[in-house]
């Protein structure tokens, strides 16, 4: 162990970083330590604060508090260029290079070998070849970068960063668009670089890869540091628990018995429903007065299921029935016509129309459902808006305020109001409490329970397992874009969900070992 990363000097030290966007605290007092020559995985669900941490460290966002030390010296880069000069290089999932320029030009952009003011193309190509050879890559460096695979583009970006004398290399989801073989190549290069003493931060949501490559893991959740562990001594189940939260809520008392709901009848059912390459065929039954929770890691197919159910995405197999009758659900309009509603996770880009008022946002879906020729009069609109502003306690209680000026929690309530105004039979909520402050958080959960008591069917996605356990009557667990487990009644608790999420991955990891 003396030669391991443990004894290595501390390379990048982040202490007490905080960062807020408006009322949302994206990072609170986060520490992070990267040692020379180690590969350190930075993990967390969507919104945990990984990207914010990277952007604060590389100077893209100014930080509210905390310090960053590189090799013992405090640094405060104010742009990604300054960070690069200081020795911190970042390679993003979408490679930030110029696809229309040649590989060599990309490698030496901004620092081309010159003679008499003219770029020495031959010299540049020779050096590019030498540089890439060090990464085991033998390609035509005169060809445009865009003509190569994403993997080679990544390696080019990494080579450029390392050649710029980077000491810290941050890889943000580098493997998301790579196939198995390409991942192997990338991992080989990462190990080589670590062997040269470069510290690598590896952000990924592929846990198998994290276990394969990383020496150490830091987990963030809701903008806070959950912990830092050695990969070898951290069981997979424990890791998932760290990522998804472990404060077990007292739950069963709040839940009505499952039998009562079955009597209320099926609202919508899906058989063998799916879409090739999107989410594997699934069976799903949604009943009146019942909350079905969708649990799983990021990218497990939760949002994909929700979009198929609502009709935001076209299915290519299986059957859907609404109130027992076969139904076509291929466009959002189909969904709306059948009395479905969908609050997407991306509230700003897919939910609100920021420029329009609270009133207009609330009546939008109802008006679309009624059709052009049956406009809601201004008085009806005012009545509807006033009713929901009061019922959901939307603040400030001004229906004529542009909705873009409201806080995240109130925007979420406006979206809920938009669908409630259509008197839906089924509501699909994707991460309804994401990015919302704690007070509004509890309120939204209370609303979900109330709606369900009124006979609405609900399909709710959340990364917060405590939350899912609190309100769900049934929980469907997803993994690798497939429904793998359905929990009911007493079986619904955090540890069972975690076990279902982790089950498959650990078997693969075991098979993978010699």
């Amino acid at each position: 162990m003396e030669t391991g990363p443990d004894s290595a000097p501390c390379l990048l030290e982040v202490r007490g970083i905080s960062k807020s966007f408006g009322a949302v605290r994206a990072l609170q007092d986060v520490d992070f330590t990267l040692r020379a020559g180690e590969i350190h995985a930075l993990l967390g669900e969507n919104g945990a604060g990984k990207s914010t941490l990277i952007k604060v460290v590389t100077g893209i966002f100014p930080r509210d508090a905390g310090i960053v030390r590189l090799g013992g010296v405090e640094v405060a880069p104010r742009s990604s260029k300054a960070a690069l000069e200081a020795g911190i290089a970042t390679v993003y999932q979408e490679v930030n290079l110029l696809p229309n320029l040649s590989v060599a030009q990309n490698l030496f952009l901004d620092r081309q070998p010159m003679r008499f003011g003219i770029v020495r193309e031959g010299e540049m190509r020779r050096r590019a070849n030498a540089l890439l050879a060090g990464f085991g890559l033998d390609i035509d460096v005169a060809a445009p970068l865009g003509s190569y695979s994403v993997a080679i583009q990544h390696v080019t970006a990494i080579a450029r960063a390392v050649d710029l004398s980077a000491r810290v290399l941050i890889l943000d989801e580098p493997t998301a668009s790579l196939d198995r073989h390409e991942v192997e190549i990338l991992f080989k290069i990462m190990r080589q670089l670590a062997g040269r003493g470069i510290g690598i931060v590896f952000v990924s949501h592929f846990l198998d890869q994290v276990y394969e490559i990383s020496d150490r893991i830091t987990v963030l959740r809701n903008g806070r540091l959950v912990g830092e562990r050695e990969t070898a001594s951290l069981p997979r189940l424990e890791l998932i628990r760290m990522m998804l939260g472990r404060e077990l809520a007292e739950t069963t008392s709040a839940r009505a018995s499952a039998g009562e709901h079955q009597a209320r009848g099926v609202c919508a059912s899906f058989k063998g429903y799916g879409k090739a390459g999107y989410v594997a065929p699934f069976d799903l039954e949604l009943r009146h007065g019942e909350v079905v929770g969708l649990a799983g890691l990021l990218g497990s197919g939760r949002t994909e299921t929700a979009r198929l159910v609502f009709g935001a995405e076209r299915s290519d197999q299986g059957q859907a029935k609404v109130e027992g009758a076969p139904a076509r659900l291929q466009t959002p309009r189909d969904g709306v016509r059948h009395g479905f509603g969908y609050c997407p996770e991306e509230r700003k880009t897919e939910g609100i129309v920021a420029e329009l008022t609270v009133r207009e946002n609330i009546v939008l879906a109802l008006q679309a459902k009624r059709g052009l020729h049956r406009p809601l009069s201004r008085r009806e609109q005012d009545e509807i808006a006033a009713r929901y502003v009061k019922m959901l306690d939307i603040r400030p209680p001004d229906p004529e305020r542009p909705v873009g000026l409201l806080s995240g929690g109130n925007q979420q309530k406006v979206l809920l109001a938009r669908w409630l105004a259509t008197s839906p039979r089924l509501l699909v909520l994707d991460e309804p409490t994401r990015g919302i402050d704690v007070g509004a958080h509890a309120e939204i959960i209370r609303l979900i329970r109330e709606l369900c008591d009124d006979g609405l069917a609900l399909l709710v996605i959340s990364s917060e397992l405590d939350e899912i356990v609190t309100y769900s009557d049934r929980v469907v667990v997803l993994r690798d874009r497939a429904h793998v487990e359905e929990l009911q009644g007493e079986a619904i608790d955090v540890s069972n969900i975690l076990a279902a999420i982790a089950a498959d991955g650990s078997t693969i990891a075991q098979e993978g070992r010699p």
Partner: protein
């Protein structure tokens, strides 16, 4: 009326009054009106009459721009419909002439709408196609000549009067009322604003955004065709090379002056027409002043710049900062 004329209209009304005052200063008879042969004459009537084509174009354009689109082809559509009207005028009755010309505009609008909404092309590129091709089509219809006609019915459309009001002005007014009634009387206005404000969100809310986008391009085509017929009727002939030339830019300018953002969303029909009138009042004023018409373009450019600067979020942001600094100093 409040839906048609929001509070922000004050700036445009103020601008119009200022320009009218300048016009009055360079031409003392500017506000004089006289009745002759059952038709009103005077500089003000000229402004309204000359402003009709751009006002009609802006009625369609403002809806297109509200959906975050743009239609560069309206000038070419004017040429097409003018050419059709002129070619048919002496051999067919007015209803047939109008139906053919407006039908052509409808087809042009469908074509643009198809490219933008169904094929998902960028509006500026999609309509550029018809902007170029349309003038060619018009030249094919007129066989490269200037087609003249004598049909009194069609001539009346450009030069007649109803209760003293020139027919083109009456038509423009009628179209403003009709468009306003359709757009604000139905839910179309709200759904167009929602589509322009956030198309993805509107689509998920069940708004048929494709149909919305198709509809506004069709309406824009019909308005342009009507403007083309009036322009042809005015000069009693169709000149495929020059009819409606560059008027798409005036129409866009009118919409922008009317406060509708090129980023889509909120729009105002009345203010777009007011924008068209502001442009025409400027044009007429420069003509009356005796300055060479070349000044026209320069003055227009300055007005565009002023309007765009006022809309720029950066500038308003800076103005806010300046105001805050002053506030803290005070």
């Amino acid at each position: 009326m409040t839906a048609l004329l929001p509070r922000r209209g004050l700036a445009q009304i103020f601008a119009l009054i200022v320009i009218l005052m300048v016009d009055r200063a360079v031409s003392p008879q500017f506000f004089d009106l006289r009745l002759q042969d059952g038709r009103l004459f005077g500089s003000m009537i000229d402004v309204l009459n000359r402003g009709t084509p751009v006002a009609l174009l802006s009625l369609g354009m403002v809806l297109v721009i509200a959906t975050r689109g743009i239609d560069l082809s309206v000038g070419a559509v004017m040429a097409i419909s003018g050419a059709i009207a002129a070619s048919l005028a002496d051999s067919h009755g007015l209803p047939v002439v109008l139906a053919a010309a407006l039908g052509a505009g409808l087809v042009c609008g469908l074509w643009n709408g198809f490219l933008v909404s169904i094929l998902g092309m960028q509006p500026i590129v999609a309509t550029l196609i018809l902007m170029v091709a349309g003038r060619g089509i018009a030249q094919l219809i007129t066989e490269g000549r200037i087609v003249t006609f004598t049909s009194p019915d069609l001539v009346w459309l450009g030069n007649g009067a109803i209760l003293g009001v020139p027919v083109p002005v009456a038509i423009a007014l009628g179209m403003l009322i009709l468009t306003g009634a359709v757009v604000r009387g139905s839910a179309l206005g709200l759904l167009i604003e929602a589509t322009g404000g956030n198309a993805r969100a509107s689509d998920l809310a069940g708004v048929g955004t494709r149909a919305m986008i198709l509809a506004v391009y069709v309406w824009c085509g019909v308005c342009a065709a009507l403007a083309g017929v009036i322009a042809a009727a005015d000069i009693m002939g169709a000149d495929a090379n020059n009819a409606g030339l560059w008027l798409e830019l005036d129409a866009i300018l009118a919409v922008v002056i009317g406060g509708t953002s090129l980023f889509g969303g909120r729009f105002s029909l009345l203010l777009a027409v007011l924008g068209a009138l502001i442009i025409q009042t400027m044009n007429t004023g420069i003509l009356l002043s005796g300055y060479p018409p070349e000044f026209n373009l320069l003055v227009k450019a300055v007005v565009v710049l002023a309007v765009l600067l006022l809309q720029s979020p950066k500038l308003t942001g800076m103005a806010g900062i300046v105001a805050r600094i002053r506030g803290t100093k005070a």
